[in-house]
């Protein structure tokens, strides 16, 4: 599967584009940080409110920030794919076999399932029905805790990608 993804990412002009333009990498990093702040600022705030932080802020209104988080997420998927495709040391293979990156992607995947469950199981609807100073239902609190742990996990392991050896050393791998 790693080979298939690596081949896919290097089939287009993208790896070449990143390699031959020295401004692409720093620009993508700046955008990747913007995307991160948008995601945590929107989704993270909804999570925090469902956990009881900032009572007085209506959950229903706060949720209108979530599309900004989706925009941030999309920015980060695009810039993230450019990082993997254009990795100057070892190419996509090096990143796709990187434990920190794999754990980051695992966190993203579970966070995605968590979001789906939030809407599909009617938890979002129940949380939206809560008054501005009300207490969110337990199901919403569980979704919120899982969401916060996973998105901060994404940031945590994301920063370890460049220092994967530290992770391998710590876990005796």
């Amino acid at each position: 599967m790693i080979d298939a993804i690596a081949n896919f990412l290097t089939a287009g002009p993208f790896d070449e584009f990143v390699a031959t333009n020295d401004w692409v990498w720093p620009l993508c990093e700046i955008l990747h940080f913007f995307g991160m702040a948008l995601l945590i600022g929107s989704v993270g705030l909804v999570d925090a409110r469902m956990l009881g932080i900032g009572k007085g802020i209506p959950i229903k209104s706060l949720e209108r920030f979530v599309p900004l988080g989706v925009i941030g997420f999309c920015i980060n998927v695009i810039t993230g794919l450019l990082f993997v495709a254009g990795n100057p040391v070892g190419g996509p293979q090096e990143y796709l076999t990187n434990l920190a990156l794999q754990l980051k992607m695992l966190c993203v995947l579970i966070a995605g399932v968590n979001v789906l469950l939030f809407y599909a199981l009617g938890i979002a609807k129940a949380a939206n029905a809560v008054g501005p100073s009300g207490d969110a239902p337990m199901s919403a609190k569980i979704v919120a805790v899982v969401s916060l742990i996973l998105w901060f996990g994404v940031i945590y392991f994301g920063r370890f990608i460049m220092y994967n050896d530290t992770l391998l050393y710590a876990w005796g791998l």
Partner: protein
């Protein structure tokens, strides 16, 4: 002085320890703190600019302590990373620019508290002072520039080639 800090036991631990809790975790914390303070401040700014009017402006005041959680995480992690790399960072123009922009963003944050959140219009829930939009725009611009400068501080050769800005005092 710079050497003494950089060669202190703590700075050496941050820089050289193979422990998972040393350099890389501190670096991760720094990104998390950024996401917390910039993320929350961005949403507050957007509300002050008129986006999502369903949120009572006064209720957002409760988020100030949480922005300071982000700031505290980053003051601690930032000073740790700085101690570990002080001789380089102190000559890095983009890093110094970033610190200045953060200082301005924090001053703006407190001015927003004093001039917007303490305003009777907001406290009584009857409106928002006209200056709110200016503070909101300032926070968006300052944090955006701070992130740009912070990221570029990691690419001194790129900054030199494209912007012609060279390390200070070298």
């Amino acid at each position: 002085m710079i050497d003494a800090i950089e060669n202190s036991a703590y700075a050496i631990w941050v820089r050289e320890s193979p422990s998972i809790w040393a350099f890389t975790t501190i670096l991760s914390l720094h990104a998390m703190g950024l996401a917390i303070i910039v993320g929350i401040n961005t949403m507050i700014a957007l509300r002050l600019l008129g986006y999502v009017p369903g949120i009572p402006v006064a209720s957002l005041r409760k988020l100030y302590p949480w922005m300071y959680v982000g700031f505290t995480i980053n003051a601690f992690s930032g000073l740790s990373l700085l101690a570990a790399n002080l001789s380089n960072d102190s000559h890095n123009p983009m890093f110094l620019m970033k610190l200045s922009l953060i200082a301005l963003a924090m001053i703006n944050l407190e001015l927003t508290r004093a001039k917007v959140f303490d305003d009777p219009l907001v406290v009584n829930g009857t409106g928002v002072p006209a200056a709110a939009k200016r503070f909101a725009m300032a926070s968006l611009v300052l944090w955006t520039l701070a992130i740009i400068a912070g990221r570029l501080s990691e690419y001194p050769s790129f900054v030199q080639a494209w912007l012609g800005i060279t390390p200070i005092g070298q």
